[in-house]
Symmetry: C2
Subunit: 345 residues, 2 copies
């Protein structure tokens, strides 16, 4: 899914998500402890044999085999991945929204006026119902208070520090440990076959860049995401980029192909998503003539992760699930296609 | 220099440039035919031995030698290059402006009303004085008529077709042959030393991407430039990106570090420019602590190319020339530092 820096979501979705935050609904079951032996000799060891794995192997073989009618030169082997819900856990609510709420709490001592001012008062009192009532305007204020008003270097440090201590409410682990092991293997498999992989996320570009290389092997220059504007300025004789309280780009839904074209400048030959926020990216990638590959991660595993699709506020998967049939995209059934979900299983 | 997709330039500069277009002032001397033997065993064969070449070699040696106090891991070896006037010829006027004028002429049969409508009438009559009088508004109309109103794929084809037939007024060669051979060697030298090179230009990003890989070895996903907005849409069941008559980003002056941060997400360790449009990029790159490298191409060679700096409307080099002294940037004296300018010499 793509929280779109919050702004891209509908009011209804945002409010629903906010309301969900304290509840962690549904699937509070123990984490599976069935550690699997990972064999690294064959590709994709955390994938069970089946149609999804086979479709990936077939596609990569076809586009990389010299002389194949579907051969694609390495320079054109561009693959794009959504992040939230495709590469790491997005439930029970946006990690970045959790970050914003935590930031407001951390900054509260510097802002004594927040104790009596919405939406901050609601955040500080953990009153999610009241926070939801402040609507988009309230959420926008939270975003600006937490994401703008500092230099890019300062924001990077804030993100790194937060990720070092924040823990997922169900899994009790750092968010960066909640990357899907089968997808990490898929990224590595594509790299080893000459692909250049990009993340194309509705999330904030500078919320991802500090850690994507370490976790996914995808460097900062291969991240596309939503962003706020920055301003170059000299301060005390040193140049800096200051983060402004103004949206720059929403990399979600129809914005994803726009972002791909703007940042990458090539049309991908493979795209990977999990929600309606990825529909247009998958269309742009696969409806282009030639052998193309589209894949949707379908969250069907309430025991090991979460089960959600057509009615979920985050990771809403409805139109794209129907389009997958029409366009012959591969749909991953997490429960049966993934031998393990996380590396710590 | 950075024509900023025309919009970033001052009115004065734009008008001056327009007026210059038909005149090709100054340096209409024969192209030097003194072909040099290029030795490929040593790096930078088209550079004369001297302070500039030595500064490049010293910097690359320092950041690539393991155990050096200035060692930089390959992933962080980001180098950014301006395009117009740094990698290829920008005189006597912006190549992209020439393209816009040619496009208007090519489209004229589809627009009979242009015969009586400014600024188109002036273009069709080669009346640059009247065109200049239409001012920024007139130029904006030319940009939109020539750069918007088609899909990204259609625009790419238009650029490729134009470059295949357009000839530089003085050198009588395709513009893509007017890349500076010493800079092509420098790009290759940096690549071979683990650098990732990006072009960061005021010019249109989609005016560059169709040819930069072939000419410079820099792929589309490593181009940062000015852009207009695009819109994703389905037409006859096929997805397309349609180019809108609306500016998206001006990648010039203080916009260059902004663009670098937005597209690349890493701070360069080396930057190369030739005008005041590159000043902030050079500041952002070099004023960061650690060993950093800034270089300015100073156009001092009216015989082989052009001689211009502080008073030139295109490639205006004034503040950045002074800043080079203050910041210890390397200034290339084209006349003495480059053994050859073009590969065809």
């Amino acid at each position: 899914m793509s929280p779109s820096f919050f702004s891209g979501l509908s009011r209804r979705t945002l409010l629903a998500a906010l309301v969900m935050l304290p509840a962690f609904p549904g699937t509070l079951v123990p984490i599976s402890a069935s550690a699997q032996t990972v064999t690294t000799d064959s590709p994709l060891p955390s994938w069970n044999d089946g149609a999804a794995k086979q479709a990936i192997l077939n596609f990569v073989a076809a586009v990389t085999r010299e002389g194949s009618p579907d051969f694609v030169p390495p320079a054109e082997r561009i693959a794009t991945f959504d992040n939230d819900g495709t590469l790491w856990v997005e439930q029970p609510g946006s990690t970045q929204l959790t970050f914003a709420l935590d930031r407001v709490k951390a900054l509260a001592p510097l802002h004594p006026e927040w104790k009596d001012k919405q939406p901050f008062k609601a955040v500080l009192e953990n009153d999610m119902a009241t926070l939801a009532k402040t609507g988009e305007q309230g959420l926008a204020e939270l975003v600006l208070a937490s994401h703008a008003g500092m230099t890019t270097e300062e924001f990077e440090k804030i993100v790194i520090d937060w990720l070092a201590t924040a823990r997922h409410p169900r899994f009790k682990r750092p968010y960066t440990e909640l990357a899907y092991q089968p997808m990490i293997e898929l990224l590595a498999y594509l790299h080893s076959n000459g692909f250049k992989t990009f993340i194309v996320s509705g999330g904030g570009i500078e919320f991802m860049r500090p850690w994507t290389e370490r976790v996914y092997g995808v460097p900062p220059e291969q991240i596309v995401g939503s962003s706020i504007k920055t301003k170059f300025q000299m301060r005390d004789g040193r140049p800096e980029l200051f983060r402004l309280a103004e949206m720059n780009f929403i990399d979600d839904k129809a914005g994803k192909p726009v972002g791909i074209n703007e940042y990458i400048g090539r049309r991908p030959i493979a795209a990977f998503g999990n929600s309606d926020g990825d529909l247009e990216m998958l269309q742009w990638t696969t409806m282009a003539g030639g052998l193309r590959f589209g894949l949707i991660v379908h969250h069907t595993d309430a025991e090991r992760e979460y089960a959600y699709d057509r009615t979920s506020p985050f990771g809403h998967l409805d139109k794209a699930l129907d389009a997958a049939v029409f366009n012959k995209w591969t749909v991953v059934d997490m429960k049966t296609d993934w031998k393990r979900v996380f590396v710590f299983e």
